[in-house]
């Protein structure tokens, strides 16, 4: 494991001494209290990571955690490079979406392991190597005064909104790819949905935040984006609203996994598991994300949620993207 990110003021490395009684009810599977250092690779946003680490440091004062945070692409590139030279330097991987985590799983990089909090995670949101920690919801965002107000995904192909729709490029973000996977594999929509979007003059933009920005600024009227992003903008005062699709927001979960190669399995599992505990989940929820546990209060959810079958779409990755590109170009 590599040394900790002491440069960052995040409390992650602050290991307050002598809080031996701090072992909570929900402890690690190992009998002895975990200690030592731990390296976490993650693509989860910085504020969330900070919050969780702060909470973890209280619960497990003897473990100091180093964080390497980068966008999924860079994170994967780093892992690829490290695998080519002396092995991955991380003990725990906390991803934004299942896609890349799944790839590593299929390459047997992870420890098969069941957290103490196993019951907290709905079956749809975990495999036997990685476990969902939060939910990102792909929803519809529209600007003040847009009529007719959208209510469901089908409204994005409503001629009334012809040429006024923005969607995120699934070639760059896993969550966007999740949406692609969901639509493509659902009987209700199918890949034709994207064809229809294109027909209706929808435009692809690179990133999910970009959808919100362009809608908020009036370049487009409505688009596909994440609920958290939209909520933040609305809170700041942007003239946009969330339309929670009646047929269900596409829920993408952020998985956590423990590397097989970890030299501190106890600490690694304790952290991974901590993300699923009430404390961990509360920290996540406090930064605006929907927790995976329903017994932890999170942001208000405006409707039903549907989840793509990640196993299925993982195998069709290439094909799905090719189909998509044949429609939207690039």
């Amino acid at each position: 494991a590599s040394p900790g990110s002491t440069a960052s003021p995040s409390p992650s490395v602050v290991s307050s001494p002598g809080a031996s009684d701090g072992a909570p009810s929900v402890g690690p599977t190992t009998s002895t209290a975990p200690s030592g250092t731990l390296t976490l690779y993650t693509s989860v946003t910085q504020d969330t990571v900070d919050a969780v680490l702060a909470a973890y440091a209280v619960a497990y004062p003897d473990v100091s955690i180093d964080v390497f945070r980068a966008p999924t692409g860079e994170l994967d590139a780093r892992i690829a490079a490290e695998r080519a030279s002396g092995g991955v330097g991380a003990d725990v991987l906390w991803g934004t979406d299942p896609l890349s985590v799944q790839a590593y799983a299929s390459q047997d990089l992870f420890k098969a392991w069941t957290p103490a909090e196993v019951d907290a995670v709905p079956p749809a949101y975990h495999t036997d190597t990685f476990w969902g920690t939060r939910l990102l919801n792909m929803i519809i965002v529209y600007r003040d005064g847009v009529t007719p107000e959208p209510t469901d995904w089908t409204d994005l192909v409503d001629p009334a909104h012809a040429g006024r729709v923005a969607i995120p490029d699934p070639g760059f973000a896993g969550s966007a790819f999740g949406a692609l996977g969901y639509f493509a594999s659902s009987d209700a929509y199918g890949i034709d949905y994207y064809a229809a979007l294109k027909q209706n003059g929808a435009t692809q933009v690179q990133a999910i935040p970009e959808v919100l920005t362009s809608v908020a600024e009036g370049q487009y009227d409505l688009g596909m984006t994440l609920d958290k992003t939209a909520r933040d903008a609305i809170a700041a005062g942007s003239p946009v609203h969330i339309a929670w699709p009646t047929s269900g927001a596409i829920a993408v979960y952020s998985p956590v996994a423990v590397f097989d190669s970890t030299d501190n399995p106890g600490a690694a599992e304790s952290f991974a598991n901590f993300l699923l505990t009430v404390e961990g989940q509360t920290a996540i929820a406090d930064t605006g994300w929907q927790p995976i546990r329903d017994d932890v209060a999170g942001p208000e959810i405006g409707g039903p949620q549907v989840a793509p079958d990640w196993n299925a779409i993982f195998d069709r990755q290439e094909e799905l993207l090719r189909d998509y590109r044949s429609i939207f170009g690039g």
């Binding site: 040394p3 440069a7 946003t45 980068a70 896609l99 896993g174 903008a233 170009g329």
Partner: protein, 541 residues
């Protein structure tokens, strides 16, 4: 030449080691690794849409190179060869875009000229085709002009030969003819250097093509590479990343090499000195006007747009007093950013010094021009996309240097060596050999000669090269996002963190702050009378 054979020998050794450690070894490790991961099927990796990406990247790079070198040269001739009022400010204005990260540049343009941009709101006029090839080219040109300008201006300053142009005029050549037939041919090595740098930079551009290109479905090699990078969790994707990058490097280097042949300077400088240098004639009003117009349109307006974005409370609100706030600046300048800013400044400074030193070394011992084999070698890693450079360095030195400033420095040097070398190498070809000889014969060793004669004369080019490397290093994002460690958190990391939070206003605020900081430094440098501007600096009246 019987000059300093011992120095040369040591120089060669040092150079060889540097090339091996910084360029050759990482590249080798990268390729061998990718080979293991199935780089063999390169053709398959590229595929048909890949071919399209290659074509797009190439024609865009060529157009951008031609346009921006032309523009940069015109501006350089204006500021260096004629008396322009307030020239220092003009220079600063022209160079400002160098200080803005490329992804921010694109955003600032959309906010200035986009469908909902400033001009659209105020005058209803928008830049047609901003989202698409036209827009990409325009924005890339605007970003590349300062690079070309800096290189050419430095070259012009290293030696002025007014008599050569006068001779053409006296022979009946119009100003335009003498420019085309005398001034420009004599600038060839410098133009070549500028073109090479711009071309490679453009082939490497990611921020602009992705922001302006995705909506129109335009794919360049870099966007393709980044998409594969986003899925590089699978070995195939990773191999594809390397394969495409290798192809990109190949294209870039071959093109530069071929063009280099064509641009190779003919005829070296003779000792005959220039005649009396009279004060420059005042610049034509049209020329000055055009230059300022360029600055206003491609620099000030986008910058203004950026500032407004940064000061608007939330995206989508009209930037009017009730909606304006400075909060985003506070958010942008949290403790982490400030801490990383220090690291970045140090790193950029070290890189600038290192790259210029290495460039100088290569120039001194290897080829007097940049297009020699050494020049080509350093171009390899320059042409490699930042993310891939980082990967290569990580593979080569990850085990030993991971998470240290050192690994970042090595990566930066690998990426920017060429930027420090070309301008200097090109400028050298403008110096007559007799100047160094005069020093040697009157008692100066080859090192003293370098210190007391060559370097002072090359000062403009060296300053330019250093400035270039510094600004690029400060704005570099991908490399450090991949390589940063606890003791080396750079500004780029903070920028990306903010970006991922999804609020463009804060990112804009940070970009503005960054531009302000580096801008002030650079401006100070430019306004300084003391900058050693070399031979042409005298007699400017």
């Amino acid at each position: 030449m019987a000059e300093g054979s011992r120095w040369r020998a040591t120089g060669w050794v040092a150079l060889a080691l540097a090339l091996l450690g910084i360029v050759a070894w990482p590249l080798f490790r990268l390729l061998s690794t990718a080979w293991g991961a199935g780089l063999g099927g390169l053709a398959a990796a590229i595929g048909t849409d890949g071919a399209a990406a290659v074509a797009t990247s190439l024609w865009m790079a060529i157009v951008v190179t031609v346009a921006s070198v032309a523009g940069g040269t015109a501006l350089a001739l204006l500021t260096e060869r004629s008396a322009v009022p307030g020239v220092a400010w003009l220079r600063a204005g022209i160079l400002a875009p160098l200080l803005i990260p490329d992804f921010v540049t694109a955003i600032s343009w959309t906010r200035a000229y986009g469908p909902v941009g400033i001009t659209a709101r105020l005058t209803g006029v928008e830049l047609p085709g901003l989202y698409g090839p036209v827009g990409i080219v325009v924005v890339l040109v605007a970003g590349a002009v300062p690079l070309a300008y800096l290189v050419v201006a430095a070259g012009l300053r290293v030696r002025s030969e007014p008599d050569l142009e006068r001779a053409a005029r006296a022979s009946g050549a119009t100003p335009w003819e003498s420019l085309r037939q005398v001034t420009l041919p004599l600038l060839l090595p410098v133009l070549g250097a500028a073109a090479a740098l711009v071309f490679v930079t453009t082939m490497n551009a990611f921020g602009t093509p992705v922001v302006l290109g995705r909506p129109a479905g335009v794919v360049t090699m870099t966007t393709r590479i980044y998409q594969d990078l986003a899925f590089s969790s699978t070995p195939e994707a990773f191999a594809r990343v390397v394969a495409l990058s290798a192809l990109l490097v190949l294209l870039a280097v071959v093109t530069v090499a071929v063009a280099g042949r064509a641009l190779a300077i003919r005829g070296e400088r003779t000792g005959a000195s220039a005649g009396p240098v009279a004060a420059h004639a005042p610049a034509s009003r049209a020329g000055t006007g055009a230059a300022w117009a360029f600055v206003v349109l491609t620099v000030l307006l986008p910058l203004l747009a950026l500032v407004l974005t940064a000061m608007t409370r939330a995206v989508g609100l009209t930037p009017l007093p009730p909606n304006l706030t400075l909060a985003h600046f506070a958010a942008a300048l949290d403790a982490r950013t400030v801490a990383s800013l220090g690291t970045s400044l140090v790193l950029a400074a070290l890189t600038a010094i290192g790259a210029v030193l290495l460039g100088g070394l290569a120039t001194a011992v290897a080829s007097r021009r940049g297009s020699g084999p050494v020049g080509m070698m350093v171009l390899l890693t320059f042409a490699l996309p930042g993310s891939v450079v980082a990967v290569a360095i990580l593979i080569a030195y990850g085990v030993t240097l991971r998470d240290t400033l050192a690994i970042l420095l090595v990566a930066y040097l690998a990426k920017l060596w060429a930027l420090g070398q070309r301008p200097v190498a090109a400028a050298v070809s403008r110096l007559p050999a007799d100047l160094a000889r005069a020093a040697r014969v009157h008692g100066a060793g080859s090192f003293t000669t370098l210190r007391t004669v060559v370097l002072p004369l090359l000062a403009p080019a060296i300053v330019a090269a250093g400035l270039l490397v510094f600004t690029v290093a400060i704005n570099e994002v991908t490399i450090s996002t991949l390589l940063y460690g606890p003791h080396a958190t750079t500004l780029a990391v903070s920028i990306v963190n903010l970006q991922q939070l999804g609020d463009p206003t804060v990112t804009a605020a940070l970009a503005v702050v960054l531009t302000a900081i580096v801008g002030l430094a650079a401006l100070g440098l430019l306004l300084l009378r003391r900058v050693p501007w070399g031979a042409a600096g005298v007699g400017l009246g």
